[in-house]
Symmetry: C2
Subunit: 378 residues, 2 copies
C-alpha cells in the first residue's frame, strides 16, 4: 500500500481530499499572473469557504478577499480577514448583518447595479459603506452597461449618500465558462477588462471617484491579455480547478487539487455499473464539463493515488449513490472489488465541496493527512 492509500484508508467516505502541493501551485500561478499584469489579487473564497485555503491564496498579497454569503463574511472575519467584498447584489435586509460585522472591525464593500438598490441603502447608519457598481461585460447576468446613462445616475446617487462611499466598479465574465476555445476566452477577457475600464473612465469624467476597477473569473484571469486600467482580479475556482476548467484548457486534469474519496459499495453486473457511496449530494448535480466531453457525467473516477482510470466516470447519481460506468459500457469490476476506495474528480469544484464539513489535506511532502475546517450554508 502506498503512502497516500495508507493515509486515506482510515477516512469515512464520502470525503473531500485536498492535494496541498497542487493547491499551492495553483495559488502561485495566479499570484504570478496578477504580478505580471500589475493588478491586485482578491481571491474569491466562495469556492473554498476555508480560512486555511484563504491564507495560502492571499500569501504575499494585500490580504483582501471576495465572498458571496453573509455566513462567509462572518466566518472569514472571525479568521482574521477584514477587507472583504460581498459580491452579490446588496439589499436592505442584509445591511443589519453587514453593519454588525463592520462594527466588529470588518471593511465590507458591497455591490449593486440599480438606482433602486442604491436608494434603498443610502440612508443606512454607522460607518459609510464602500460600494462597487456592477457592470455587465457581456455575460448578461447582472450589471449595467458601461455606456449606459444608468451608470452615472447610480454613481451620483451613491456619491451623494452620507452612508455610502463610491469605491468603483466590478464585473464578472461568467460566460467565459462556456468559451469553446482559447481565442474566444481571450476575447471575453478583453471585453471584461474593457467594460470595467470604460465604466471607470466615464465615472471619473463625471467628476466622481472610482478607485477600484475589479474584474475576474478564473478563465479570463488566466489569459495573457494586458490589464491596463484594472486594479484587481477576483478569480475563485483556480485554487482547486476542476474538470470544467480542464475542458476549457485553463488547467490540466493533473492540476485539479480536490477529489471526492468514495468507496465501492456494490457491483451490479447485470445493469453494467458499480456503485459508489458518493452521489448527488457528495458530487453535486453539476454536469458542466459535459458541455465539452459527454463521457464525464458527474465526475471522472480515479484510483486511490488520484490517477484517472481510463474512461471510468459517474454516469448517474441518486442522493447518496453514484453509478460508475466505463466509456464503452461496463466498468472493470475485477479491478474494483466492493470495499475499494476511489477518488472522483468534480465537474465544478465550487458546487462539489460546498456541503462538506472539512477538507482532508494530503501533503505528499510531509506524508501527512490533516483536516482543515470550512464554513457552509448561509
Amino acid at each position: 500500500m502506498t503512502s497516500s492509500a495508507h493515509l486515506l484508508s482510515a477516512l469515512t467516505t464520502p470525503a473531500i481530499i485536498l492535494d496541498r502541493q497542487r493547491l499551492e501551485a495553483n495559488c502561485k500561478r495566479m499570484a504570478q499572473r496578477a504580478a505580471q499584469a500589475g493588478v491586485q489579487l482578491r481571491p474569491h473564497l466562495k469556492t473554498a469557504k476555508c480560512a486555511d485555503v484563504a491564507r495560502i491564496a492571499t500569501a504575499g498579497q494585500f490580504g483582501g478577499i471576495t465572498v458571496s454569503t453573509i455566513a462567509e463574511l462572518a466566518y472569514f472575519l472571525d479568521a482574521g480577514f477584514r477587507d472583504m467584498t460581498y459580491a452579490v447584489g446588496i439589499v436592505p435586509s442584509k445591511m443589519p448583518a453587514i453593519e454588525r460585522l463592520i462594527a466588529q472591525g470588518a471593511r465590507i464593500t458591497v455591490v449593486l447595479d440599480s438606482l433602486k438598490a442604491a436608494e434603498d441603502i443610502a440612508g443606512h447608519g454607522g460607518t459609510p459603506v464602500p460600494v462597487l457598481i456592477e457592470i455587465d461585460c457581456g455575460g448578461h447576468r447582472a450589471g449595467v452597461a458601461a455606456e449606459s446613462e444608468a451608470l452615472i445616475a447610480i454613481a451620483e446617487r451613491i456619491d451623494a449618500a452620507p452612508g455610502l462611499t463610491l469605491q468603483g466598479v466590478l464585473t464578472h465574465a461568467g460566460h467565459s465558462y462556456h468559451a469553446a476555445d482559447e481565442a474566444t476566452r481571450r476575447q471575453i477577457a478583453m471585453a471584461e477588462r474593457d467594460a470595467a475600464v470604460r465604466a471607470a473612465q466615464r465615472i471619473r469624467a463625471a467628476g466622481l471617484p472610482c478607485e477600484t476597477v475589479s474584474i475576474g473569473s478564473t478563465p479570463t484571469a488566466l489569459t495573457d491579455v494586458p490589464l491596463d486600467g484594472v486594479t484587481e482580479i477576483r478569480p475563485g475556482v483556480y485554487v482547486f480547478f476542476d474538470l470544467s476548467q480542464a475542458r476549457l484548457g485553463v488547467c490540466s486534469v493533473d492540476d485539479i487539487a480536490v477529489s471526492v474519496l468514495a468507496t465501492v459499495i456494490g457491483h451490479h453486473r447485470e445493469a453494467g455499473h458499480l456503485l459508489v457511496d458518493a452521489g448527488a449530494l457528495a458530487l453535486s448535480k453539476d454536469i458542466s464539463a459535459n458541455e465539452h466531453d459527454p463521457h464525464i457525467g458527474y465526475g471522472l473516477v480515479c484510483d486511490i493515488e488520484g490517477r484517472p482510470i481510463d474512461g471510468l466516470h459517474v454516469a448517474e447519481v441518486h442522493q447518496e449513490h453514484g453509478f460508475v460506468r466505463g466509456a464503452d459500457g461496463a466498468p472493470p469490476f475485477d479491478r474494483l472489488p466492493v470495499g475499494t476506495q476511489v477518488r472522483i474528480l468534480p465537474n465544478h469544484a465550487c458546487m462539489t465541496v460546498a456541503p462538506y464539513r472539512e477538507y482532508n489535506v494530503l501533503d505528499a511532502a510531509s506524508e501527512t493527512l490533516s483536516q482543515w475546517s470550512k464554513t457552509y450554508g448561509w
Copy 2:
C-alpha cells in the same frame, strides 16, 4: 403586510421556510396509508435531516427511522432515536463508526447485496449487527434479484456469521420517480412489493429467518396497492413533497411544505430576467420536475404567501444567483421590485434542503416563526 410576510421579513436570504401545517398533514397522510396497509412506517430521514421533523413523522409509530449517512446516525442517536436502518450498502471502513454508535445504545441495521460485502463484515466484533439483504425490484440501482442463487448464498453467509444477524430483505423502487402515469406507478409498486415478498419467501423456504420485509419510496407508498407480506415502508420525501412529486401526481403543489425564501437583488430588463439571491447551492442543480414540465427550471417562484406566480420560474442558476423568467419571456418587473422577497418551490426537496443549517418553521395556527436545527454533510 400579512402575518407570514411580516414574520419572514426579518430573515436573511436564502433560507428554507417550512410550513408546519403542511408537514403535519403530509405525515398524517403517510401514517394513514401505513395503517390502512397494515405495515410499519420507518420514515427515511435523509430528506429532512432534522430531529423535530423525525418526531412528527414517527408520532404514533414504532419509532424506527431510516438514514443514509453516518452523520445522520450520530445526529439522530443523539436526539433519542435508537432503531435506525442505514440504507446505503455497508463496507468495512464504516463498521468502526457503527460499532461506536451501537456501544452508545443504537440498534443499527445495515444493508448489503453481495457475498463479498457479507464476508467483509462477517467477523466484526461486539454486539451482532442485524443485516438486510438488498433486492433489486426493477430499478437496477443495487440489490440482487429475488430469484437469484446469490440471494440464498448471501443469506446463508450472514446467518452463519457470529457477528451478524439475518434480519430480512429491503428494496427501493427509485425508478418510480420516473413513472409517467398512475398506472405505471401502481405497476412499479406491485413489482416492489412482489420482489421483496418473494425474496423473503425463498429465504424462509431455505430454513433461514427473514423477519423484516422492507420496501419503500414515496411514489409507490402512496398508491392503494395491497402490501400483504410486507412488514415496513421507508418513504422519505413525503414529509415535504416537491415539484417532482407534484408532477408525478403524488401530491398537489399546495402540499409542498418547503420553499426557499429569496430576495430580488436585481432587474436585467435587457436580458429579460430578474435576479434572486438563491442560485445553484440554495436551490440545487436538480431539475427533475422538468422531465414532466419544461417550464419549471430550478424551481417555481411564489409570492411571500407561497402562492405560485403564474409561469414564473428560475430559468438559470450560478452559485449564489438565480435568473427568474416568465413562461413566455420577461418576468413582471414592476410587481417584483429589487428588495422583494419571494418563495421558490424546489424540484427535489432532498437535494434543496440538504446544505442548510436550519428550517424556519412557519406555524399559521400560532402565527409564529421558529427555528429547527438539522444535520448536514457526512
